[in-house]
Symmetry: D2
Subunit: 313 residues, 4 copies
């Protein structure tokens, strides 16, 4: 995440802006606006713009003429109610925009969230930076044997890790060197290497890069869809690397819309969707009755998850 002098100058310029507005502002966001928050080894999350706050949710829910706020207490209650009853449209009335730098294999997961606006750095048009993601040793997890779609809690041995990192680094570097050679460009100066060569089209040469190369994009979405993204990606089942980004954004949401954030934790992130059968089990248990997985036609795996969730011995 080492920015060039030009980029740093650009950043300083936007950070020094002071405008007057009648729109709602959020002080805690103004402080972090434009500043790159580090993610993984070379990535970042930069808040670029935002629209609305907790009051804007209330204002839209009430279709009111003013700012929506009556008393803070009532606003909080209404936000809780909306979140609890899945009245999602008022949360669509807030919008947020980020500039994000992330590895391509994570970008491929991220982009599946379709209800967002995206402008990605174009490898057809521009030369890709020589920046690739290399995991920390403690993040080199083994394949899970239980959950085919995830990593185990075990990490690799020191020796195995060492070999993995060696391969990742070597391959990423070699692929980039060849990328630049195909483009017929000098890596340092980006000048033409050999005047007798034409240089392959950028849109083709980029295919030689590995999936841990960083890309970057502007990404803009509304609060409702952002929370949906966070619910899936700030979750244990998400891949660790996208989770790093989700956690940073979750922290920004906390600063932005504190009431909505609290409601989101209780009714979404810490909540559980309990199936009809599971509710039947809980009722029976609470009534002191005995009940087994077979009684309710529940699979073993599902039963185990319920028992573990409720901490029943």
């Amino acid at each position: 995440m080492s920015l060039t002098d030009l980029q740093n100058q650009e950043l300083e310029d936007v950070c020094s802006i002071k405008n007057t507005t009648r729109r709602p502002t959020v002080e805690a966001l103004e402080e972090i606006l434009y500043k790159p928050l580090k993610a993984l080894d070379h990535g970042f999350v930069r808040l670029v713009d935002y629209m609305g706050n907790d009051s804007a949710v209330v204002q839209a829910a009430r279709v009111s003429y003013g700012s929506g706020t009556k008393k803070l207490n009532e606003d909080k209650g209404l936000i809780n109610y909306l979140m609890r009853r899945w009245h999602t449209t008022p949360f669509e009335m807030c919008e947020i925009k980020f500039h994000i730098k992330l590895p391509i294999f994570i970008a491929r997961q991220w982009i599946r969230h379709r209800t967002a606006n995206v402008n990605e750095y174009s490898g057809r048009y521009s030369i890709m930076d020589k920046e690739f993601y290399i995991p920390e040793i403690e993040d080199l997890a083994a394949q899970s044997q239980i959950n085919k779609q995830g990593r185990s809690t075990d990490v690799l041995s020191a020796e195995e890790s060492h070999r993995v990192l060696e391969m990742l680094k070597d391959d990423a570097r070699r692929c980039y060197d060849h990328y630049m050679e195909m483009l017929n460009l000098n890596e340092e100066t980006q000048e033409i290497l050999d005047p007798n060569k034409a240089g392959l089209a950028r849109e083709l040469a980029r295919m030689n890069l590995t999936l841990n190369y960083y890309t970057q994009w502007y990404w803009k979405t509304d609060l409702h869809n952002l929370l949906h993204f966070l619910r899936l990606r700030a979750d244990d089942h998400a891949q660790y690397e996208i989770g790093v980004y989700a956690d940073i954004i979750l922290d920004i949401v906390k600063k932005w819309v504190p009431f909505t954030y609290e409601a989101f934790l209780d009714y979404r992130l810490n909540a559980v969707n309990i199936s009809g059968k599971s509710i039947a089990v809980i009722k029976k248990k609470l009534a002191g009755e005995n009940v087994t997985a077979e009684d309710v036609g529940m699979s073993k795996r599902e039963w185990q998850e319920l028992i573990s969730l409720l901490e029943i011995k």
Copy 2:
């Protein structure tokens, strides 16, 4: 569009806000922020919030670290280029939010634009206002005999107009009186009329209102989708009543993003999609050749439109 005292107080409150922000602001928008701009007889368009400006389009297109602006001239050129080549995603990086009051039959057209966020005043929850749309006499157009989906340029005779307005007003009023009677509420005081009656559920009683009753909503969309809406609704083929709203919004776009507005006029609103066959006709005409509708397999209606567009005698 007569607001209550409470609504006026709420409006004054939000209009007196002065916040400091590092986000981009647009002075011409700050001036009209929150103020209801009159539309039709009782409707309005109120700008409630906005995100970004012309520079934000440029910034996203360049995925840049700063505000995107190099020189004003280059920005203008880039925006023209993006609009001309249908690079639409950078325009999605600006967002705008309105509070709109509009007749239900217009709301039904409007809502078909799906890529927007909407919170509508709820007739299940609240009592509808006694406000309905009555066209001006000069807008009482006759049915077109040529275009089945539209109105003619002729208006009704004075006598016919008079009768139409009479029916519209009488029916709207009677339906509202009965709506309140079903709710068992006094129209003036909204107090219970008859303590021995239960009052019909609001979600049912509302079905007795006519389609010219006003509803209101918060409506939020990005600049790209807003321009698409304007292209269709600020057009001659659109129904006059929705066009009134589109024109007001188009004027707001002009204040908000002047470069984008100009590009939009030239490449969208004043532009024409010319079919492959039509291009063949134009080429021949320019080369001094004679050509007929039959030569290119064009329908009469299409041929007429082309001739009329090119002002060929």
Copy 3:
């Protein structure tokens, strides 16, 4: 729902089709294809086309070359797993298309489900039918005093009902008569009434109709979004009138994708989203501990709902 002779002939024609296809078919759907299933007094749901079945969900989840099916038992298990873990994209691989006739005030709720394709009968282009919804006496519910957004379980008295029905019918009829008079058309023959009058444009005259008039549309959506629609609209909190349509469609889903239907019942329709605080309460209760609303910072209303859900005395 009285169809014209022409419409009945059209229906018969499509019902007699027998084509051969290599695409998956669902016998139970073929039987009801094209037939109008009655909804409310004049509405209907007509299945017009469908794509895929339970196997298509499995096939997409496995990105497989064949039909996706291994053993029926494994397919069922996989569908349960996908539903339980909110892997929603495989359910998007089935598509269904309906022709639906419904009152306008219900259409206004329905259209808020944005992820669907819609073609509505155009009141700008065509003359609206003289068909309006009048509730059954047992559906004339009073306004709820507890839940502001809904109806009470009490119905109106015989006398109050009688008066409501009278107003609804009279107003609907009068508004339609005036609608035709504005159009200058005879109601029976749709011929011009008075050759000296021009007749108001259809797009204007329609505003005089009440919201219980029927409209109709073609509506097409994927299985995932259909289930989302059903979860909200086949629910107790939904307005009764839209629930009637949802129930008919739910029954079609049962015929179409029986495994998905069962999973949907258990993990969505009969499931409950339990907040983090509620889980804490359940754990304590199961461990035999005492706990109050205050202990966990839960609102009274929320606490009551939890107690009632779990049938705790």
Copy 4:
């Protein structure tokens, strides 16, 4: 595109299906259903399912009870009209589903079309195949010096090409070998290599693959959005590799909905969006007047494009 025996068996199974249906079928599509149509060196397009035909467009536009068809001639005229006037919703009433195998760098472009349903082969869950894209020598285009976002019409010299292909192949192979080594799996047998190693999680190891590796997905969209995709991707400005897929799909559209296909060619693919200024130029030229770029305030590049489009000398 060498399928395994199992995959071939699966294919044969689905191809031998013969079902009876009352839904509309398209013979020309039934013939190619399920068969992989080769794209690039290892990719394919497989039609998996379809809903509707030209008549379904007409049926929805008319909101009719039957199949929509009156006379073939009228249907064709209506489809032309709908396409010409951008009445897009009737085209959303047809749906199509493909199984597609494509290089990752192309998949990244493709996925930006958001209005589609996608299930992609998961590199978190499964082992990626050893298949990567290597361009034909005649497709190794040089970077364009005029258009920064594209390739030139010149190809590389024999020597330069040779070196590029060498690098592409070597790097792709080495990266895959290391991918399997990280997974601790034998490439041929997919059995564990070294019992003393844990093997890196799949979701991590995949990041070592280059962007020309093939992925595959089920992709489903409606006809309107498909045509929008084709308009952009079967165009000269699209990258050649995605164009190969677009051309195959365009050919399928021709078989599927021949009337819509013809209208699409004339009003979209071969049509041009002419700006307001350009129309002014054409009018003057047709009237025999002289006009320059400066007269209408047009940029040089735009002027050149217009002159070249109209073949004016």
